[in-house]
Symmetry: C2
Amino acid sequence: MKVLFVLAHPEPQSLSASLCRVAVDALRAEGHETMVTDLYADGWKAVVDREDFPALAAETRLRVPAASGEAFASGTLTEDVASEQAKLRAADALILAFPLWWFSMPAILKGWIDRVYSHGFAYGVGEHSDRRWGDRYGEGMLAGKRAMLMVTSGGWETHYGPRGINGPIDDLLFPIQHGMLFYPGYEVLPPFVTYRADRLDAAGFDAAAERLEERMRTLFTTVPLPYRHQNGGDYLIPSMELQPSIEPGQAGFSVHLREPAGSGA
Amino acid sequence: MKVLFVLAHPEPQSLSASLCRVAVDALRAEGHETMVTDLYADGWKAVVDREDFPALAAETRLRVPAASGEAFASGTLTEDVASEQAKLRAADALILAFPLWWFSMPAILKGWIDRVYSHGFAYGVGEHSDRRWGDRYGEGMLAGKRAMLMVTSGGWETHYGPRGINGPIDDLLFPIQHGMLFYPGYEVLPPFVTYRADRLDAAGFDAAAERLEERMRTLFTTVPLPYRHQNGGDYLIPSMELQPSIEPGQAGFSVHLREPAGSGA
């Protein structure tokens, strides 16, 4: 199988980069192919702007979804974006490796999502009718593939627990896991998170590496998070609210899982 | 009073930019002073890298919190970052104006947070002991000031409702409102959200503008979201978990509000 890593850390000696190398080695040892997009090393352009749409006339107002969709359809996306889309199509699995900065991804990685996820590729795909609301949330261009986050955090694990002050890590990652990975079709695996990253000693690193190697060995067998598919009947169309009969009276991110996280599937 | 807007949209004719102008005019009409950081117009550098820490020796491993803290303490932050920090200190209120891209802020705005929120300024501030865990979550350098999000979304409001497929808008914004605004001390006002931004006609714009003008008139009187202060006794130290006696058995983002959102205060 082919696995694409997208790494977002400015320091080659960082924990994120080191764990990325551990994961690559573990996958190669199993006979898989790996590709790494190292955003900082590649000097990735982080911001969406007019330069992304060279075919857009100078006097035309930039509407990002429209411009992005036209560039995708006409093959005029910039080379860096087209190249990343080709990697996503080629890869059977995607792993985003990054430090948690301000409870989200570093800007350079957000900019990879903002630019590579063009209209017609990652959104605005498929039929919108009274039966379907596009190919998204379980369907889409990247359906049949797997994705996983590899996150390092300087904070303590309890601070990210169910009642921890930062909010539960699964909820903090929901906009990424559900909104950026499940949305264009990926099956999303439970995240690999390392806490107190700045205080990790050699023994701590070895333990994390071992845990990560096991996750790589099981990358294609681990049970994905059981997010509900949009067009499978669980949601009203077009309001896209969960059917009243499902988890009645409940609300929030957790209702979008077919069974509670961690209960197995 | 002084109000700082940070605007993150590449198109001057965008809804985000237009609403920003409406808000600025409304505040000036009330006698307030306004400042606007227009990230795209200013060519804001979005990514944290070694260039941000000119005093860091070339052979030194880049550890972002340490490098950022040293640059802040020694006055060697880059001019663009120092200038934004000065604006934040001067402003009584901060408004972040942006389109919701992939359920979060555009990369350029995340890069403003990543770079301007240096160690010693927005985190790593204050005493860590068995009584306090730093000046954060209700205390900190920006305490006594107010902050608010102005968000435009292409999606439908029901898709962001309590049981909508995208997840509730308040939960999607929690990492920003609680994690980026309340964390360094801001009182956070309910967000101003405009849905179906790409389909808004002239009457829709006028209605949104009117609603926004009212929010600007009440900017300094609106009741903030009742997030719990970290060092006020609600949390165990150092695990930073909510005391077992508070909202027993409950978990998730909502337990960090003193009373449910929307119930008044």
